[in-house]
């Protein structure tokens, strides 16, 4: 644990590189907001409707009935099975992510009620190492499936991820089949899963549990792609359609059921939970 605290923070207060916008400035229309303005608007630009990334805690607060959320497996932490070192050690990146986000990992799970309907939530946070899926994300998602199955309630998964976490090597790839098996166990128990894909839901997370929801919805403008536009362009030199990989294209090609602006998500989740609660319960 002590090694986690010893991190380098020399760049913390360095000025933003030129051309990079402040996180609270809308990338579409340049409107600028205070944190509390965005928080009360569900992190949606009130001028143009752009959906800012939403942190896991804000998301849970916006969805779960007040006081209903009970977090599970909050103490799970990543290890460094490969002693991975690229330009910096993996352990250092983990410690920095924890300090920056106040989260132990890129996913938060727990029991909740939405509109009076009990469910299990599994919510990802892109701010923690790009929402990448390593052993802990895989384990937390699996435990969320088990908790839902045991309590006989549906699972609501909300993803935001760049894919598998390279620093855990092949073990991060193994989180794909692991989470797939967990969803299959959930389904065998008779419970349903709603998958909410937010920007971005790509690579390993799209190619595993996120695509296995009984119902799949997405936020407007979210990138939902196995391979992102930059890599596709570089590898194939193909001309990319304007809405390449976006939620809108995915809806057109039949990969998702609906695109929901953020304010419509809570009533949609509540309706899903009512429909999938066992008849007579």
């Amino acid at each position: 644990m002590s090694s986690r605290i010893d991190v380098s923070i020399e760049h913390r207060n360095a000025p933003e590189p030129p051309g990079k916008k402040h996180p609270n400035t809308c990338p579409e229309c340049d409107s600028h907001y205070r944190d509390d303005e965005l928080e009360s608007a569900l992190w949606v630009c009130s001028h143009c409707g752009h959906h800012f990334p939403m942190r896991a805690r804000s998301r849970i607060a916006s969805l779960a009935d007040e006081g209903s959320f009970v977090e599970e497996a909050a103490d799970l932490r990543s290890e460094d099975p490969l002693d991975f070192f690229d330009l910096r050690p993996y352990t250092e990146r983990l410690a920095e992510a924890e300090m920056k986000t106040g989260l132990g990992e890129a996913m938060v799970i727990g029991q909740a009620a939405v509109g009076g309907n009990a469910c299990e939530l599994a919510v990802m946070d892109f701010s923690f190492m790009g929402g990448s899926m390593g052993s802990v994300v895989g384990e937390k998602f699996s435990r969320a499936c088990d908790s839902a199955a045991q309590r006989g309630v549906p699972l609501v998964s909300i993803t935001a991820s760049g894919g598998a976490r390279m620093q855990e090597g092949i073990l991060s790839l193994m989180q794909l089949p692991k989470t797939v098996c967990a969803v299959e166990d959930l389904h065998d128990s008779g419970q349903a899963m709603l998958s909410v894909m937010t920007h971005p839901t790509t690579a390993g997370v799209l190619a595993s549990f996120a695509s296995l929801g009984d119902v799949i919805v997405a936020e407007p403008g979210a990138l939902l792609a196995f391979t992102g536009p930059r890599v596709v362009q570089q590898t194939t030199r193909e001309k990319l359609p304007e809405d390449f990989g976006l939620a809108e294209q995915n809806l057109r090609f039949g990969h998702i059921d609906a695109i929901l602006p953020r304010p419509e998500l809570k009533p949609y989740v509540a309706r899903f939970l009512r429909l999938f609660s066992r008849n007579g319960d």
């Binding site: 330009l87 802990v136 073990l171 797939v180 390993g204 549990f209 792609a225 391979t227 194939t236």
Partner: protein, 310 residues
């Protein structure tokens, strides 16, 4: 890290050594095989050896799926098409007789010359390929055929049409189908086990890996481009994320290493096929007494146990 596997190998080795009466040719071969696995585990491959595996796994003369099928299967019938949209030549499916039983086989297929490479899309499957695989899985389940999967793919194809046709979803659903099957599944990585494109057909009861194959979450070049911001650092990336068979065995990702002829499978395809056939048959026979529910339960438990955390 290695102790669990090392202990198991040691135990098998000691047990086999004590069976003096049975000391025929087959047993001494088995002893040699185990001893070699143990030696490699203890030594641990160097960075140079890891990079050599990357090169051998991609060697242009390395046997591909259909080379092994020709040597190991009788009455082979290749099947074509996903019954919806296309026939993806990067992924072959079929049924045939293997070791006196009918089995279903799915395998990635690369090409030998430029024309065939283009036809096979350099082994990179489209979503149609995974839907073709799913179609074979359903056939295997219906007729109680064991499933063999040979994995050799640089990665699922990263193109516009592949995305539009649902590459991510196809890979997820292919895995989900494998998690549901009630028949024995044995997978072997025979070359490149490239990321999501590979795991799509590798959710098996027994996962084997040839000695010089690699199994990766991202290509060494891709990893280097992202983390080192320089694709030229692929060698460093490979050394850091350790895609070789020995490390995969240590991490519990694979169950056994399939030996290759000296110098690699490309030096002696017949010998490589014989060694692969023996391992596949052994793995199938271990699984055949289990009930469908038992297989499914254990398969899911196997994958759900993978990961390292505190």
């Amino acid at each position: 890290m290695a102790t669990d596997h090392e202990l198991r190998l040691r135990e098998r080795l000691t047990r086999l050594r004590n069976v003096n009466l049975l000391g025929g040719a087959k047993l001494s071969g088995e002893l040699e095989k185990l001893q070699r696995q143990l030696d490699r585990l203890q030594a641990g491959p160097t960075d140079e050896e890891i990079w050599r595996s990357v090169e051998l796994a991609r060697h242009q003369d390395r046997p591909y799926t259909l080379d092994y099928v020709a040597r190991l299967f009788e009455d082979w019938v290749e099947l074509h098409g996903d019954r919806g949209r296309a026939d993806d030549a990067a992924l072959v499916i079929g049924i045939g007789r293997f070791a006196d039983r009918t089995v279903a086989l799915v395998g990635n297929q690369k090409g030998r010359d430029i024309k065939e490479r283009t036809h096979r899309n350099f082994g990179m499957a489209y979503p149609e390929g995974y839907r073709k695989a799913i179609r074979l899985m359903e056939l295997a389940e219906l007729h109680h055929f064991p499933l063999i999967s040979l994995v050799d793919i640089p990665g699922a194809y990263p193109g516009v049409a592949a995305e539009q046709h649902g590459q991510g979803g196809a890979i997820a659903h292919s895995q989900a189908h494998m998690a549901r099957l009630g028949v024995p599944i044995v997978a072997c990585v025979i070359g490149e086990g490239g990321s999501g494109g590979a795991i799509a057909t590798a959710l098996a009861d027994r996962v084997l890996m040839q000695e010089n194959a690699i199994y990766t979450v991202i290509s060494p070049e891709g990893c280097a481009a992202i983390l080192w911001r320089d694709a030229g650092e692929a060698k460093k990336a490979a050394a850091a994320f350790k895609p070789d068979a020995v490390h995969c065995l240590e991490l519990g990702v694979i169950d056994a290493i399939v030996p290759e002829p000296e110098g690699g499978a490309q030096t002696d395809p017949d010998g490589a096929a014989k060694l692969l056939g023996e391992s596949l048959q052994e793995a199938l026979e271990e699984l055949e007494s289990a009930s469908p529910d038992e297989l499914k339960r254990r398969r899911r438990a196997r994958f759900r146990s993978l990961g390292v955390y505190a």
